[in-house]
Symmetry: none
Subunit: 215 residues, 4 copies
């Protein structure tokens, strides 16, 4: 978890200087994220991306082999950001209310990265299979972080023992309930602020753990 393994190394390049590659790819990804969010992957042209990234079309194609490459890079960057944000809290997570704090933090990340998360839901399908799988794995790795939080809490006694499978599912639920805010915010926000949402869902999730306890 401490290892931040940038998987983007797997996207091959024409360029030798690897620092330059990193720098240019950042430009590309930053530009692309915005554009993909605004107009979607298919309605964004490579020209627009290159332009927004401050590169010529030709140049861009020396740091990237296809438009799909860019999409992968984008998805990866998004996941990395989510992961990083979450792992920040995890570091300091301990004690009774660790779970609530992690949930709160994570849901706020989801709130802030709404568009990015939606992007992944919508465009992952456009990726070549291999990369689609990579993105899906990223997705479950994030869930894995929650599993570990739960495990720690149980082992520290801060949480009553939980069935292994249940624990995993609870982690998935946390993940997806965070996402839910991103695709239903347009509706939910009529009645709930993000804080309301966090509060209630937290109760529900914790209730799950407790309730299950007594079941």
């Amino acid at each position: 978890m401490g290892i931040k393994l940038s998987r983007t190394g797997d996207v091959p390049t024409q360029i030798k200087n690897s620092d330059l590659v990193k720098r240019r790819r950042k430009q590309i990804v930053d530009a692309a994220v915005q554009l993909f969010i605004e107009k979607g992957f298919h309605k964004t042209t490579t020209r627009q991306i290159a332009g927004a990234a401050g590169l010529s079309t030709g140049s861009m194609y020396e740091y990237v082999n296809s438009k799909e490459d860019i999409l992968y890079l984008v998805c990866d960057a998004i996941h990395e950001e989510v992961e990083e944000a979450v792992s920040g809290v995890l570091a300091s997570a301990g004690g009774r209310d660790a779970l609530s704090r992690v949930i709160r933090e994570y849901f706020h990340v989801c709130n802030n990265m709404s568009d990015h998360i939606l992007l992944i839901y919508q465009e992952t399908q456009s990726l070549p299979v291999q990369w689609r799988n990579r993105v899906l794995e990223n997705e479950v790795r994030i869930t894995g972080m929650f599993v570990r939080v739960l495990e720690n809490l149980v082992s520290s006694g801060d949480l009553a023992p939980l069935d292994e499978r249940l624990m995993e599912l609870v982690a998935h639920n946390i993940t997806v309930l965070g996402h839910m805010w991103t695709f239903r915010r347009w509706f939910l926000s009529r009645q709930y602020s993000i804080d309301d949402y966090v509060t209630i869902q937290t109760k529900i999730i914790l209730g799950t753990c407790d309730g299950q306890n007594s079941a």
Copy 2:
């Protein structure tokens, strides 16, 4: 709820015979659903759709004004099918275990219509705003059905009184937890059968209701 209001009447046509319109559109939608699922909206061509529907391109465009029309028709048909399936159970839903039964049914619908539900998550964005909104409304109408189930249970005494807002959120959770199976099945199914999934999530959801009670 009993009224099956086909909203597709809003998509205008060149053809006068409205029975024919219904028939041809079914051909079109049936063809398109498959193709969209296989290759995505953008990688499916109108010629492919027309061909698969057994129509000439020209003919197809007498029943539809654009490729986007087709996408809308597809989304609408999917929602209609989901709604219909769910409302089937609702009719006979009563008594203590009504909620479990509805959940089970709904989750099975999600399981069966996995690809269709994914399709909606992925392609709704490609719709013109007005129709995108229509599709989103369909989405919450389905959630509304669960709200009503909960209300009925509470009012019949089969469920302990629930805060109004909580009830709504529970309904959303049910909806989205059903969807979760569609986008995480590739992973979850390694450890859970759909029935396992139903069982555990049902417990969690019911726990929510009970647990909340005691909170």
Copy 3:
């Protein structure tokens, strides 16, 4: 000149009843003229014409063989209308001021049928050669009417003898100067009313005749 030879008889039909043909074709032409003026020949569809004419597409094609047929019928109808209007004045044309009266009348016809005349300038080219020629002949036949007026005036002594070729050219000038009002009205009308225009151009044309006299 007295003979109103409807040249439209040359456009063949499927239908026997020739009165019906005449009636239906009138519907078609009336509809088409408006549409062609509004949107031009190419941007008007046969469907629109049929619709506006109160016929089904199929029906229309029983009175007409092609879209070009319709254009020809339209051009012909316009010319017939112009011709008729002009020949009305001719009948009563005599005496010193006959020429001014004819000019005034004709220019007012041009003013009223501005759009129609423009239509002919713009779309004649889209006609099959044979019909294009027919339309061009119509055009010169109208000019011929002015030639005859001049001849009559000369032979009645109301106009000084004019060189034959000059006379013909004057007739063409009258015709085209009438048209000029239609394509330059947008500009000319800033400074001249149609009546100003008539007055001045008449002077110029008459001056031509007189001036030429003394030359």
Copy 4:
């Protein structure tokens, strides 16, 4: 008048090298003029234009945004050519017979550019409004050149004083009588050579000026 202001700068491009733009657009316009004259705007395909211009379709669209752009470029080029030709004579126009010389020159331009002038009469309507207006303005600017010739002649005493409005109308008449040769040449040329035409019309026009004098 000495300033040749190419208005085509208003048509935007993807290409940065503006010399190249000029060169390629010349290829495009040259090809298009021929094709439009031969078959008309609507029956010419963009592929044909690109082909005749020695470009790929894609390439052509880097220099132009639509087929209508091409039509505008064509109309503009034609007007520029006419203007240039006429302004050539104007430069050396002075003395008694200046007007005749200008008329002769202009009518010969019309004779040589017959097809081009017809093209403008026929296809201007297919232009988006804004450009249509531009073309119409070009048209009156050319007329303006004749107005100025007349003014000079009057002020130099080579022509008797003329009413301002009359002068303007005479200029329009010159312009349109030149055009007349283009749309009626098919008929007129049976009896008049272009030189005959020039001679007679010149007399008529000059007669106008003189005759009007005495009126």
